[in-house]
């Protein structure tokens, strides 16, 4: 099912610049209902509040990393179905495999382009 432009999206990254970049690209792609979180813990709290249809997350973050948050999402019945896209500088093969095993919906390596993000969103929401 194609992505609903009104879908609520959560962008999780400890760097304010990256959150702003992802938010900006999502806006250009037509998604304006975007919220932010600075780490996995804050992300989980927001997700448990309900209403989110998609998560874009970094890997390396203080308090709770992206991969820990991903595992927590997949272990929670109420939010386990939310697609999670990881955008990370962790470009090692073992990182990708770890993320796939944890249930990631897709994976982008930094630096990335808007086209890559659009392509991945199209793959997650065909």
């Amino acid at each position: 099912m194609p992505a609903d432009p009104a879908m609520k999206i959560l962008v999780v990254d400890d760097m304010s610049t990256m959150r702003r970049i992802v938010k900006n690209i999502l806006k250009q792609l037509g998604f304006t209902n975007v919220e932010e979180a600075e780490n996995g813990q804050e992300g989980l709290t927001k997700l448990n509040g309900g209403g989110f249809g998609f998560v874009v997350s970094d890997w390396n973050m203080p308090v709770m990393t992206g991969i820990e948050m991903l595992r927590a999402i997949r272990a929670n019945e109420a939010i386990k179905a939310i697609p999670v896209l990881m955008i990370t500088a962790e470009a090692q093969q073992e990182n990708l495999i770890e993320a796939v095993k944890a249930g990631v919906s897709n994976y982008i390596v930094k630096p990335f382009t808007a086209e890559t993000l659009q392509e991945k969103i199209n793959k997650i929401f065909p």
Binding site: M15, T17, I25, Q28
Partner: protein
């Protein structure tokens, strides 16, 4: 037995001399180690400051880019409105008015993004003039379409600028790793200082190295650097306009 004792004393003497030399060398190394362990926290702090500087600069570029994107969205909306009005055969002055409004917005953007914006503003002015003179037709619609296409191309460039700014995140991550390494080295050096009782007395002359000078320069740039308005104030007092 006496021969064995003599051999043992010789060995012990050798060991004592070795220990004495080692202790003297450690003592010599004490001052540089103590100095280095004192400089490392400052170096780490400057690296953290670097992250903050690049973060602030990146946000400023983002702010300007977002302003241009918002302005583009308004211009494209106006152009679409003009094109639709043209299609319905509405009066030319009304359309010309919409186009002039678009041209003004694009001209404002020129202050920030020169080049294609100037060509676009020129095209829009020509179209508006043509309409005012009452000459309408397919050439006007074509020019409008070109203008919208030009804006769309610029929007792609603006998104590229935004995504290129992700360099800041990568730089910050590496700086963070370097800072962690520096803190680790600092901790190990301090352990050495404590374990071997290396002292760096206040009276001990500071060991001058390139690192010492550079740290001084970095500290000065943080604590004594003047803002341009202060420079201008001082220059003004000396008669500079």
């Amino acid at each position: 037995m006496a021969e064995a004792n003599g051999h043992l004393y010789a060995e012990l003497g050798e060991l004592a001399r070795y220990l004495d030399t080692t202790l003297r060398k450690l003592d010599e190394a004490g001052a540089p180690i103590a100095t280095m362990s004192g400089q490392l926290p400052q170096a780490a702090s400057h690296l953290e400051g670097l992250t903050k500087l690049t973060e602030e600069g990146t946000h400023e570029v983002m702010r300007l880019t977002e302003e241009l994107q918002d302005s583009h969205a308004v211009v494209v909306g106006l152009l679409h409105k003009a094109a639709a009005a043209l299609g319905k055969g509405e009066n030319s002055p009304c359309i010309a008015c919409l186009l002039r409004e678009s041209q003004q917005l694009v001209a404002q953007d020129d202050k920030q993004l020169i080049g294609s914006r100037q060509r676009l503003a020129g095209t829009l002015t020509q179209v508006a003039d043509t309409l005012t003179k009452g000459q309408s037709g397919s050439c006007v619609a074509c020019a409008l379409s070109q203008s919208i296409h030009s804006l769309s191309q610029d929007d792609k460039r603006l998104i590229e600028i935004m995504t290129a700014l992700s360099f800041q995140d990568l730089v910050a991550q590496r700086v963070k790793k370097l800072t962690t390494i520096i803190h680790d080295v600092e901790r190990k050096l301090l352990e050495l200082v404590v374990v071997f009782g290396l002292k760096h007395e206040g009276a001990t002359p500071e060991i001058k190295t390139d690192a010492t000078d550079m740290l001084k320069q970095l500290n000065a740039s943080n604590s004594t650097a003047m803002k341009q308005n202060l420079v201008d104030d001082i220059l003004g007092k000396f008669g500079f306009n």
